[in-house]
Symmetry: C2
C-alpha cells in the first residue's frame, strides 16, 4: 500500500517506527506492505514513488528538524501539491488540531478524497467542523475514511460500536475522554489537594500542557463527544451543539463528599441522539468509568448487552499508533475482501 | 439465512425473541433475514424448510415445555438427524456445557460442519475439550465458526482482540470472568461479611446457582481462560493445563488488609503463551479489573496500546443474545463481502 504522511510530529514518527518494527508481522499476518511514498512536515516535503526509507526518514527528521533534508526533499508548504500529484493509495492526515477552522486538516482530507485516496486521520479539527461534508465526500468518491485515533487515543471506541456491538441499539454513550483532567481529578480524590497544586505538578510531569485550558474547561472532551455522536449516532453535530461545563469549580471538599458516599467525580461526556453534554458527574466506585490516572473510559448503554465499557490510554504516540495501524489494517482488509 | 437452533432454553428463546424484535433492524441495516427452519430441545424437535414462526415457537415451548408440540413436531432425541437432514446455512449450538466430555456439543458441532453448515455456539464444553479439532474442521470444511458468547457473556472479548487490536502483539490477557465470584468478593469487600453468608444470599437472589462449586473453585473461570488462550494465543489448551485456585480461602480479614492498601481482591484468569492460571489476586482500586457486582472485565496487555480493558455483563439471556447476534451479523457480512 502506497502511503503519504502529512504531519511528521510525534504521531507521524511513531507510525513510521511501527512500520519498521512491524514490517514482518504486517506482511505475514495481513499481507500488508506499507510503502511510504511521501512525507510532508511544516517546513517541507519529500516524495519518491518507489518508496522512502523509514529509518532514514526518522534520522533526517530528528537531525535536521524537517524531512526536506532527505535526498530529493524540498522546502515550502507542499502538502496540497504532494496530495494532488504523488501517486498513492492512502493519506495519513496527522497535522495539529484547530477546533475553530478545522484547517489545514479539512483541505488536506478533501483534496486526498477528491484525488481518490483513502484517508486516516487523528485530527479532531476536521471532524468537529465538517464531519458531515467529509463523510459524504468519502462516500461519493468511493474512498475509505477512518479516524479512530481522534477519540480515545489507543482505545478503539468507534470500532467497538461499529464492528462488535452490531446487534445492539445504542441508547447513550458516556465517557471519560480526557486523560489530563482524569489525572487531576484522580489525584485530588486520592490526596485531597487543591486543583491548582495538582495542575502545576501535572505540568511539571508533562501530563498537562503549558496551557491546559482546553482540557480543564471541557472543550477537548466536547470535541471527542461530538465525533462520537457524529460517527455512531448518525448526527452532524458541531462543537457549539455541546453543553459544556469544565472541572474548574471542583474542589477537595466536593471530592470528599463524593468519597464519603462511595462515589468519585469524573468529567463525563454524554451523547444521546439530539443531546450532547460535558459535565463533572458522580460515578460510583467500582463502575467502569471510575478509572484512575490518565486512563480514558467509554460506556455504551445498549438494549441487549445493557452496558459495555472500554478503557485504555487516551494519548501517547505509541498508544495512538495502535489506532492508526488498526485503521490501516482495517482498510487493507476491507479492500482485499 | 436459514437457521437451526439446537437447545431451546433461556438462550435459544432469547435469540428467538431478538429475531422477532429486531427483524426490521436486521433487514434494513444488514440485509439479514434470519429464517428459523428447525428447533431442537431436550424432548423433541420441529422443522420446516419454509421457516417456523418464532412467536409461535416461544408460545408452544412455554406452554408445553417442548417445541415437539409445534405443528409437525416430533418427540425424541433428534438433534443429529435434524442437523444432517434439514437444509440450512447455520446451526446455533446452545445446549448445556459438559466440561468433561464436551458432549453433546462436540457431536452437534462436528456434524454441522461436516454438513457444510456454519456454527455459532455459547457452549464452553466443546471449546475446552476439542478446540483444535473443531477449529481445524471448520477450516477444512470451509465453514465459519464463532463462539463469542462462550466467554464474557455480552462482552466481546474475542472480537475485540481479533478485529480491533489487530496491529498489536498480545503479551498477556487477564480477566474477571465469573460474575458469581465477582459478586461474592464485591460484597465481602463492601460489607466485611463472611463468604458463606454472601453465597447464601446470592443463591436466594438467583445470582449463584444451587451448587456454585464450579464458580467458587475457579473452574468456570479456567474454562474461559482456556477458550481465550486457544482462540487468541494460538494454543490448543485443555482445562487440565490451567493452574487453578478458587476463592474458598478468601476471608473478610484478607479483604480488609487489601482495602487498607488501596486494593481489592478479584478472582483473575491469566493467559500468556504457554502459561494459564486462575487465582485470587490483588487489584488496585481504580484499575479496570476492579469492577464490582456481577460485571466481567478483561485486560489485554499489548505492545503498542499498553493496556486495553473491556467490561460488561458476563451472563443473562438478553445480554448473551448480544454476542450471539453479533456473531450472526459478522458471519452474514463475511459471507456477503
Amino acid at each position: 500500500m502506497r502511503i503519504i504522511i502529512i504531519g511528521f510530529g510525534k504521531l507521524g514518527k511513531g507510525l513510521c517506527r511501527a512500520f519498521i518494527q512491524k514490517a514482518g508481522f504486517l506482511r505475514d499476518t495481513y499481507g500488508l506492505i506499507p510503502r511510504v511514498v511521501a512525507v510532508v512536515d511544516e517546513f517541507g516535503a519529500v516524495a519518491n514513488e518507489k518508496g522512502l526509507n523509514p529509518t532514514k526518514l526518522l534520522k533526517v527528521a530528528d537531525s535536521f528538524g524537517t524531512v526536506a533534508r532527505y535526498k530529493g526533499g524540498k522546502r515550502g508548504k507542499l502538502a496540497i501539491k504532494v496530495i494532488d500529484e504523488v501517486s498513492a493509495d492512502l493519506v495519513f492526515e496527522l497535522t495539529p488540531t484547530d477546533i475553530h477552522t478545522g484547517e489545514p486538516g479539512i483541505s488536506h482530507i478533501k483534496r486526498a478524497m477528491q484525488a481518490g485516496k483513502h484517508v486516516i486521520t487523528s485530527n479532531k479539527g476536521p471532524l468537529v467542523v465538517a464531519f458531515g461534508e467529509l463523510d459524504l465526500l468519502a462516500k461519493t468518491q468511493g474512498v475509505e475514511f477512518r479516524y479512530s485515533a481522534s477519540v480515545g487515543g489507543a482505545v478503539p471506541v468507534i470500532g467497538l460500536a461499529k464492528k462488535l456491538l452490531v446487534g445492539n441499539e445504542i441508547k447513550e454513550i458516556r465517557g471519560v475522554l480526557n486523560g489530563t483532567t482524569n489525572y487531576i481529578l484522580t489525584r485530588m480524590s486520592a490526596e485531597g489537594v487543591p486543583q491548582d497544586t495538582v495542575i502545576r505538578e501535572a505540568q511539571e510531569l508533562g501530563i498537562a500542557e503549558k496551557d491546559p485550558t482546553l482540557d480543564i474547561n471541557g472543550i477537548d472532551t466536547a470535541c471527542k463527544i461530538t465525533i462520537i455522536a457524529n460517527s455512531l449516532l448518525g448526527m452532524d453535530a458541531k462543537l457549539r451543539d455541546v453543553k459544556v461545563v469544565g472541572i474548574r469549580r471542583i474542589n477537595p471538599d466536593a471530592m470528599k463528599l463524593a468519597q464519603e458516599a462511595g462515589q468519585t467525580i469524573k468529567l463525563i461526556g454524554v451523547a444521546r441522539r439530539g443531546y450532547l453534554e460535558v459535565c463533572p458527574k458522580l460515578v460510583p466506585l467500582g463502575h467502569p468509568l471510575a478509572v484512575g490516572g490518565t486512563l480514558n473510559a467509554v460506556t455504551f448503554e445498549l438494549d441487549l448487552a445493557r452496558e459495555i465499557s472500554i478503557t485504555g490510554f487516551g494519548a501517547g504516540p505509541m498508544e495512538t499508533t495502535s489506532s492508526l495501524l488498526g485503521d490501516l489494517i482495517d482498510i487493507h482488509c476491507t479492500l482485499g475482501a
